[in-house]
């Protein structure tokens, strides 16, 4: 953790009173720890983004095109005509303030421009001045503002201080979704070359190599092979992990962090153990090895370009349907965008579980099933031998990731699975889970080291909820089904609530799963199971449904 970060007690001194000064005249200070660095030119170039150059947000001169205002206005006009959401959300906000204290960045920073209503007003005021009759005639009185460089800097600062988590949209009486507004604003900023690196670089890497770190195909294969070896060491079972295998029944796509990062890695081990145990005929793909889609944080075009790989690869390999791993925003794209953008997937078949015969009717058009849906069905049909006591050293809580909860409604399935693989499960307070879940504070491309203070602030509400169950129930691991969560919650929890680990649900499944011929005494992290090591006989009873 960087040394210049304040102590938790200091950072939690949050003043919710807005300043006396009006909000309409911005002056943004790009203070270290509160913003993200600009995109690296060669990566922006690789994606063919407009107006590529070397620059940084803290520079006085951002070297934007001379006609930047014209470009922005033209971009707004185009998007107002293309998105009803944008037009309606610009027009109907009554500033009732119901959203104000629902944003994790507002709660963690007290900065009034992090109230969703005001974040939207940053853009709405420009819209009113230039696109509405009242604003054109009455200007300021009608709530209009001129589009100045300072306003532009303010946009950059605050629209890259929104994680597109949609919590505000749950509370808005008109469903105004700040994620949608932020997406529009980020597209507009992109038009004049204002991008951040932790969006553009992963997007460019995914486009080229198939994963966000830019690791080449053989490196991907090494990672998977290494995991296979490690799983054998831990369990004594040698599993297969086919890559680019034509004619497999199922293509499996996970977020690439699962095979490069920790604690994601234990989830990967869980997937491998599970697929082996049920004898799934599946394949990984090195070309479409990233389900996570950083394009979502950039623009619909880049989102579509990255997402297209999944269907193209499914077609090339001739699989029947696609299974998707544990990831949050990846599932927003797969659930709400993929079929529209890159469908119809008429070359695939309606997903049927080869193990249980269950038809996944809720995916009959997209043909892509969430692995938690898939496993829920396996457990319900008693197809897995599970010994939840092997997770008794874990006191778990579950963090609903924003997108599965609010852009999909995947709420009960993960809980069902957890209850079958863990004996000690404690929910966080109700205002912090399910559709009201708080973001990790680092989503939508903001999970960088340079942005650490803002991340700690944005993650404060979630961490505080974890602290509650940590103190009350002794929770020592937070489970989640999102790669960004797994990457960014460990430092967050270490800061706010030390002593709580982060893991995936498939890690717990991997621990509880009794594999044929296994010899194991530890969980997937190498931690010994509680009590004596269990033999095959003890674990035969399968978990009961909850």
């Amino acid at each position: 953790m960087a040394d210049n970060i304040k102590k938790p007690e200091e950072l939690a001194q949050i003043d919710f009173r807005p300043p006396r000064k009006l909000w309409t005249n911005p002056s943004i200070e790009f203070r270290k720890g509160t913003f993200n660095y600009a995109a690296v030119p060669e990566k922006a170039e690789y994606l063919g983004l407009p107006h590529v150059r070397k620059w940084q947000p803290m520079d006085d001169d951002w070297q934007i095109p001379d006609n930047w205002q014209e470009i922005i206005f033209e971009g707004m006009r185009e998007r107002l005509d293309k998105y009803r959401s944008f037009r309606i959300f610009m027009d109907i906000c009554v500033r009732c303030g119901a959203c104000a204290d629902k944003c994790h960045f507002f709660i963690g920073s007290g900065d009034p421009k992090n109230m969703p209503v005001l974040r939207a007003e940053l853009l709405r005021s420009i819209y009113r001045k230039n696109f509405t009759l009242a604003g054109k005639i009455m200007g300021k009185i009608a709530g209009g503002r001129e589009l100045t460089i300072d306003v532009l800097k303010e946009w950059f600062f605050y629209f890259f201080q929104c994680t597109e988590c949609r919590r505000c949209s749950v509370f808005c009486p008109y469903g105004i979704d700040t994620a949608e507004i932020t997406m529009m604003a980020r597209e507009l900023l992109n038009l004049i070359g204002l991008n951040i690196d932790w969006i553009v670089t992963p997007a460019a890497n995914c486009f080229r190599t198939g994963n966000h770190l830019g690791i080449q195909p053989h490196g991907f294969k090494d990672s998977i092979d290494f995991a296979v070896d490690e799983l054998e060491e831990l369990t004594g079972v040698k599993v297969e992990a086919p890559i680019n295998k034509k004619g497999a029944e199922i293509l499996f796509v996970a977020p690439s962090a699962d095979y490069f990062a920790t604690p994601h890695y234990y989830t990967l081990l869980g997937y491998l153990a599970l697929f082996h145990e049920i004898g799934l005929d599946y394949t990984w793909s090195s070309y479409a090895s990233e389900g996570g889609n950083f394009g979502l944080f950039h623009s619909t075009d880049v989102m579509k370009r990255l997402n297209a790989k999944i269907y193209m690869e499914a077609k090339r390999l001739g699989v029947k349907w696609v299974l998707g791993g544990e990831c949050g925003h990846m599932w927003r794209v797969l659930h709400q965008y993929m079929d529209t953008m890159n469908g119809p997937a008429d070359f695939l078949e309606e997903p049927v579980s080869p193990i249980t015969g269950t038809k996944f009717e809720n995916t009959r058009s997209t043909k892509m099933v969430h692995i938690i849906e898939f496993v829920s069905d396996l457990i319900k049909n008693n197809k897995l031998k599970l010994d939840p006591s092997r997770n008794d050293h874990w006191n778990v809580t579950f963090h609903d990731s924003c997108n599965p909860a609010r852009a999909m409604g995947l709420i009960e399935e993960p809980r069902y699975v957890i209850r079958n693989v863990c004996n000690n499960f404690h929910e966080m307070p109700e205002n912090t889970i399910k559709e009201q879940t708080f973001c990790c504070g680092s989503g939508a491309g903001l999970g960088t080291d340079e942005n650490l203070e803002m991340r700690l602030r944005g993650g404060f509400p979630k961490a505080n909820a974890v602290k509650h169950v940590h103190e009350k129930h002794g929770v020592n691991i937070l489970l989640c089904i999102c790669a960004i969560d797994k990457a960014t919650l460990p430092p967050l929890l270490e800061y706010w609530v030390p002593g709580v680990e982060v893991g995936g649900i498939h890690e717990m499944i991997g621990n509880a799963l009794i594999m044929k011929g296994e010899k194991r005494t530890t969980d997937l992290r190498g931690t010994p199971f509680l009590g004596t090591a269990k033999g095959d006989d003890e674990g035969k009873e399968s978990a009961e449904d909850v």
Binding site: Y83, D91, G143, Y174, P217
Partner: protein, 331 residues
Amino acid sequence: MGLIIALLAVALLILIATIGAGTLGLHYLFGIVIPYASLAVFLIGVVYRVIIWAKSPVPFRIPTTCGQQKSLPWIKSSKLEAPNSTLGVIGRMALEVLFFRTLFRNTKTLLAKGPKLGYSSEKFLWLAAMAFHWCLLVILLRHLRFFVEPVPSFVGLLQPLDGFFQVGLPIIYISNVLIALGLLFLLFRRLFDPKLRYISLAADYFPLFLILSIGTTGALMRYTSIKANLIPIKQLVTGLFGFQPVIPAGLDVMFFIHLFLVCALIAYIPFSKLMHMGGIFMSPTRNLANNSRIKRHINPWNPDVKLHTYEEYEDEFREVMKAAKMPLEKE
């Protein structure tokens, strides 16, 4: 700033009506021309705005799910919070439009020492919004007895219900009391909650003051000695609605002020946030079913984008893939 502008604007409107219809006696202008003009602005304006909204397509299916999706048959899905059928969507919208479902969910965040965050239910905004909107409807319906002849029977039923408590003479309507309380709560909230005050624009205070003034002038005419002379008012209004406008004798200034403020309000609607009453029906996060994996949603402008094909990928990495013994399309 916004507060003062809004106050001045409403004061100016009252002044215009007082001088115009009172001092100058421009009854024809204030009784016939302006009502027709404002009605025309309202109708054309609202239709225009809705057409503009409708012209922009809904490229993606983006409902905000506030409950369990429909997935496996044995998992109970939330038919109203994450609707997967049209019927569910209608139910969700009905709850939203009639009962302000979402506002009912409202919470308040509190930061205590520890640091410890707490969230308490905050229903006052919901209560005030319900009181205001429903009473506005009741009052509007009650006014039908001035507009049409014969008076519809349900209006006759509404009146004794609304005056159920039989307090005061003339009997005080419950709706009048509730709407005043609702409006004042909404106003005071804006003034005394620092966050609300910070975000409030003139356009937020103006409708509040305008509606409060309309209510006040109406109440003055009903409950005080400035009692309105109902017979000419009804003649005027039925004339307007029957497109046979007449200016009867005996109309008071207070009535003209009341009428002028109403005209200002309805003409203001299409240019303002008051369009939320139409917008809610068209909000894509609320009015779409959560069935995007079941039924393909079509984007009419789905763009052609530059893709990175598997062939290009294999061309770039063939050597390393070969060395790693990975399957290839072309050796």
